[in-house]
Protein backbone atom coordinates (compact mmCIF):
# COMPACT_ATOMS: atom_id res chain seq x y z
CA UNK A 1 0.00 0.00 0.00
CA UNK A 2 2.84 2.41 0.86
CA UNK A 3 4.38 1.51 -2.52
CA UNK A 4 1.30 2.79 -4.33
CA UNK A 5 1.26 5.99 -2.24
CA UNK A 6 4.94 6.59 -3.02
CA UNK A 7 4.33 6.10 -6.75
CA UNK A 8 1.35 8.48 -6.70
CA UNK A 9 3.29 11.07 -4.69
CA UNK A 10 6.39 10.93 -6.92
CA UNK A 11 4.30 11.49 -10.07
CA UNK A 12 1.35 13.50 -8.74
CA UNK A 13 1.67 16.02 -11.60
CA UNK A 14 0.67 13.30 -14.07
CA UNK A 15 -2.39 12.38 -11.97
CA UNK A 16 -3.51 16.02 -11.81
CA UNK A 17 -3.13 16.50 -15.57
CA UNK A 18 -4.97 13.24 -16.26
CA UNK A 19 -7.87 14.31 -14.02
CA UNK A 20 -8.09 17.75 -15.66
CA UNK A 21 -7.95 16.21 -19.13
CA UNK A 22 -10.76 13.77 -18.27
CA UNK A 23 -12.94 16.64 -16.96
CA UNK A 24 -12.36 18.64 -20.14
CA UNK A 25 -12.93 15.64 -22.42
CA UNK A 26 -16.19 14.77 -20.66
CA UNK A 27 -17.44 18.37 -20.98
CA UNK A 28 -16.53 18.36 -24.68
CA UNK A 29 -18.44 15.19 -25.59
CA UNK A 30 -21.32 15.03 -23.07
CA UNK A 31 -22.53 18.63 -22.69
CA UNK A 32 -25.20 19.93 -25.07
CA UNK A 33 -24.49 23.63 -24.52
CA UNK A 34 -21.92 24.90 -27.05
CA UNK A 35 -20.33 27.37 -24.62
CA UNK A 36 -19.82 24.53 -22.12
CA UNK A 37 -18.15 22.52 -24.88
CA UNK A 38 -15.71 25.39 -25.44
CA UNK A 39 -15.03 25.61 -21.70
CA UNK A 40 -14.30 21.87 -21.77
CA UNK A 41 -11.88 22.32 -24.66
CA UNK A 42 -10.11 25.07 -22.70
CA UNK A 43 -9.80 22.84 -19.61
CA UNK A 44 -8.36 20.12 -21.88
CA UNK A 45 -5.78 22.54 -23.29
CA UNK A 46 -4.88 23.73 -19.79
CA UNK A 47 -4.20 20.11 -18.82
CA UNK A 48 -1.71 19.85 -21.70
CA UNK A 49 -0.03 23.11 -20.61
CA UNK A 50 0.26 21.83 -17.04
CA UNK A 51 1.76 18.55 -18.30
CA UNK A 52 4.47 20.32 -20.31
CA UNK A 53 5.31 22.84 -17.59
CA UNK A 54 5.53 20.10 -14.97
CA UNK A 55 7.88 18.13 -17.24
CA UNK A 56 10.15 21.18 -17.37
CA UNK A 57 10.49 21.47 -13.59
CA UNK A 58 13.74 20.54 -11.83
CA UNK A 59 13.86 20.05 -8.05
CA UNK A 60 15.82 22.96 -6.55
CA UNK A 61 15.94 24.82 -9.85
CA UNK A 62 15.09 28.49 -10.34
CA UNK A 63 13.13 30.19 -13.11
CA UNK A 64 15.12 30.27 -16.38
CA UNK A 65 16.26 33.88 -15.96
CA UNK A 66 20.00 34.50 -15.71
CA UNK A 67 21.02 35.21 -12.12
CA UNK A 68 23.91 37.67 -12.25
CA UNK A 69 26.88 37.00 -9.99
CA UNK A 70 25.93 33.45 -9.12
CA UNK A 71 27.73 30.39 -10.42
CA UNK A 72 26.31 26.85 -10.51
CA UNK A 73 22.68 27.92 -10.50
CA UNK A 74 20.31 25.16 -11.64
CA UNK A 75 17.82 26.54 -14.14
CA UNK A 76 14.61 24.76 -15.03
CA UNK A 77 14.22 23.67 -18.65
CA UNK A 78 13.23 26.71 -20.79
CA UNK A 79 12.27 24.76 -23.93
CA UNK A 80 8.80 23.51 -22.79
CA UNK A 81 8.01 27.00 -21.45
CA UNK A 82 8.66 28.40 -24.93
CA UNK A 83 6.56 25.71 -26.63
CA UNK A 84 3.65 26.34 -24.24
CA UNK A 85 3.84 30.10 -24.83
CA UNK A 86 3.14 29.33 -28.49
CA UNK A 87 0.42 26.81 -27.56
CA UNK A 88 -1.36 29.38 -25.34
CA UNK A 89 -1.53 31.78 -28.30
CA UNK A 90 -2.99 29.05 -30.53
CA UNK A 91 -5.47 28.19 -27.75
CA UNK A 92 -6.66 31.81 -27.52
CA UNK A 93 -7.03 31.97 -31.33
CA UNK A 94 -9.09 28.77 -31.54
CA UNK A 95 -11.29 29.92 -28.63
CA UNK A 96 -11.92 33.25 -30.38
CA UNK A 97 -12.93 31.56 -33.65
CA UNK A 98 -15.15 29.06 -31.81
CA UNK A 99 -16.94 31.82 -29.87
CA UNK A 100 -17.48 33.80 -33.10
CA UNK A 101 -19.00 30.68 -34.70
CA UNK A 102 -21.30 30.28 -31.69
CA UNK A 103 -22.45 33.90 -32.05
CA UNK A 104 -23.28 33.23 -35.70
CA UNK A 105 -25.18 30.05 -34.75
CA UNK A 106 -27.11 32.00 -32.10
CA UNK A 107 -28.08 34.66 -34.67
CA UNK A 108 -29.34 32.00 -37.10
CA UNK A 109 -31.16 29.66 -34.71
CA UNK A 110 -31.74 31.71 -31.53
CA UNK A 111 -30.20 29.05 -29.31
CA UNK A 112 -26.85 27.57 -28.31
CA UNK A 113 -28.29 24.21 -27.20
CA UNK A 114 -27.20 21.48 -29.58
CA UNK A 115 -30.49 19.52 -29.63
CA UNK A 116 -32.57 22.69 -30.21
CA UNK A 117 -30.33 23.63 -33.15
CA UNK A 118 -30.57 20.13 -34.64
CA UNK A 119 -34.38 20.16 -34.31
CA UNK A 120 -34.54 23.61 -35.94
CA UNK A 121 -32.34 22.40 -38.79
CA UNK A 122 -34.59 19.36 -39.31
CA UNK A 123 -37.73 21.52 -39.51
CA UNK A 124 -35.98 23.90 -41.94
CA UNK A 125 -34.68 21.08 -44.15
CA UNK A 126 -37.38 21.25 -46.95
CA UNK A 127 -36.77 24.98 -47.44
CA UNK A 128 -33.04 24.41 -47.63
CA UNK A 129 -33.41 21.70 -50.26
CA UNK A 130 -35.84 23.90 -52.25
CA UNK A 131 -33.29 26.73 -52.15
CA UNK A 132 -30.53 24.38 -53.28
CA UNK A 133 -32.68 23.10 -56.17
CA UNK A 134 -33.43 26.65 -57.42
CA UNK A 135 -29.76 27.57 -57.05
CA UNK A 136 -28.74 24.51 -59.06
CA UNK A 137 -31.40 25.27 -61.72
CA UNK A 138 -30.03 28.75 -62.31
CA UNK A 139 -26.51 27.60 -63.02
Amino acid sequence: MTGIIDIVHAEYNYWIYTALMMIGFYAMIAKKNLIKKIIGANIFQTAIFLFYISLADITGGTAPIIWEGHEDVIYTNPVPHCLILTAIVVSVSTTAVALALIIRIYREYGSIEEDVILAARKSLQPEFSEYARQKGGEE
Binding site: M22, P64, V97
Partner: protein, 91 residues
Protein backbone atom coordinates in the same frame (compact mmCIF):
# COMPACT_ATOMS: atom_id res chain seq x y z
CA UNK B 1 -25.54 8.70 -23.94
CA UNK B 2 -23.98 10.15 -20.79
CA UNK B 3 -22.90 6.65 -19.71
CA UNK B 4 -21.21 6.11 -23.07
CA UNK B 5 -19.41 9.45 -22.74
CA UNK B 6 -18.31 8.59 -19.20
CA UNK B 7 -17.06 5.19 -20.41
CA UNK B 8 -15.02 6.76 -23.22
CA UNK B 9 -13.55 9.35 -20.83
CA UNK B 10 -12.61 6.71 -18.25
CA UNK B 11 -11.02 4.58 -20.99
CA UNK B 12 -8.94 7.56 -22.16
CA UNK B 13 -7.95 8.33 -18.55
CA UNK B 14 -6.89 4.72 -17.95
CA UNK B 15 -4.77 4.81 -21.11
CA UNK B 16 -3.11 8.05 -19.97
CA UNK B 17 -2.35 6.62 -16.51
CA UNK B 18 -0.92 3.46 -18.12
CA UNK B 19 1.26 5.47 -20.51
CA UNK B 20 2.28 7.85 -17.68
CA UNK B 21 4.09 5.04 -15.84
CA UNK B 22 7.01 5.36 -18.26
CA UNK B 23 7.41 9.11 -17.64
CA UNK B 24 10.17 10.35 -15.31
CA UNK B 25 9.36 11.35 -11.71
CA UNK B 26 8.47 14.98 -10.94
CA UNK B 27 11.49 17.31 -10.74
CA UNK B 28 14.05 14.80 -12.03
CA UNK B 29 17.16 16.50 -13.48
CA UNK B 30 18.72 13.33 -14.94
CA UNK B 31 16.17 12.92 -17.73
CA UNK B 32 17.20 12.91 -21.38
CA UNK B 33 15.03 15.98 -21.94
CA UNK B 34 17.08 18.11 -19.52
CA UNK B 35 20.50 16.56 -20.27
CA UNK B 36 19.89 16.89 -24.02
CA UNK B 37 22.61 18.99 -25.66
CA UNK B 38 20.04 21.31 -27.25
CA UNK B 39 18.63 22.25 -23.82
CA UNK B 40 22.06 22.62 -22.27
CA UNK B 41 23.21 24.73 -25.23
CA UNK B 42 20.23 27.09 -24.82
CA UNK B 43 20.83 27.44 -21.07
CA UNK B 44 24.57 28.04 -21.48
CA UNK B 45 24.47 30.11 -24.65
CA UNK B 46 21.60 32.53 -23.98
CA UNK B 47 23.66 35.19 -22.21
CA UNK B 48 26.61 34.98 -24.61
CA UNK B 49 24.70 34.79 -27.88
CA UNK B 50 21.61 36.96 -27.34
CA UNK B 51 22.37 39.09 -24.28
CA UNK B 52 18.82 38.67 -22.96
CA UNK B 53 18.64 37.54 -19.33
CA UNK B 54 15.31 35.75 -19.76
CA UNK B 55 15.94 32.41 -21.48
CA UNK B 56 12.31 31.95 -22.55
CA UNK B 57 12.37 35.33 -24.32
CA UNK B 58 15.67 34.52 -25.99
CA UNK B 59 14.31 31.15 -27.15
CA UNK B 60 11.05 32.60 -28.44
CA UNK B 61 12.37 35.65 -30.25
CA UNK B 62 15.96 34.71 -31.10
CA UNK B 63 16.52 30.97 -31.51
CA UNK B 64 12.98 30.17 -32.65
CA UNK B 65 12.09 33.44 -34.35
CA UNK B 66 10.54 31.76 -37.38
CA UNK B 67 8.24 29.80 -35.07
CA UNK B 68 7.04 33.08 -33.56
CA UNK B 69 6.56 34.51 -37.05
CA UNK B 70 4.27 31.58 -37.85
CA UNK B 71 2.48 32.17 -34.55
CA UNK B 72 1.61 35.72 -35.63
CA UNK B 73 0.15 34.22 -38.83
CA UNK B 74 -2.12 32.09 -36.63
CA UNK B 75 -3.32 35.16 -34.69
CA UNK B 76 -3.86 37.09 -37.93
CA UNK B 77 -5.88 34.24 -39.47
CA UNK B 78 -8.00 33.94 -36.31
CA UNK B 79 -8.66 37.70 -36.34
CA UNK B 80 -9.69 37.66 -40.01
CA UNK B 81 -11.94 34.63 -39.40
CA UNK B 82 -13.67 36.33 -36.43
CA UNK B 83 -14.20 39.52 -38.47
CA UNK B 84 -15.67 37.60 -41.42
CA UNK B 85 -17.95 35.57 -39.14
CA UNK B 86 -19.30 38.50 -37.14
CA UNK B 87 -19.73 40.97 -40.03
CA UNK B 88 -23.36 41.92 -40.67
CA UNK B 89 -24.05 41.99 -44.38
CA UNK B 90 -25.84 45.04 -45.79
CA UNK B 91 -28.63 43.57 -47.93
Amino acid sequence: MKTLALFVVLLAGAMLVYAGQDLPPFGDSTTDMYQNRVTQRYIAGTEVESGVPNMVTALLANYRGYDTLGETTVIFTAGVAVMLLLRRRET
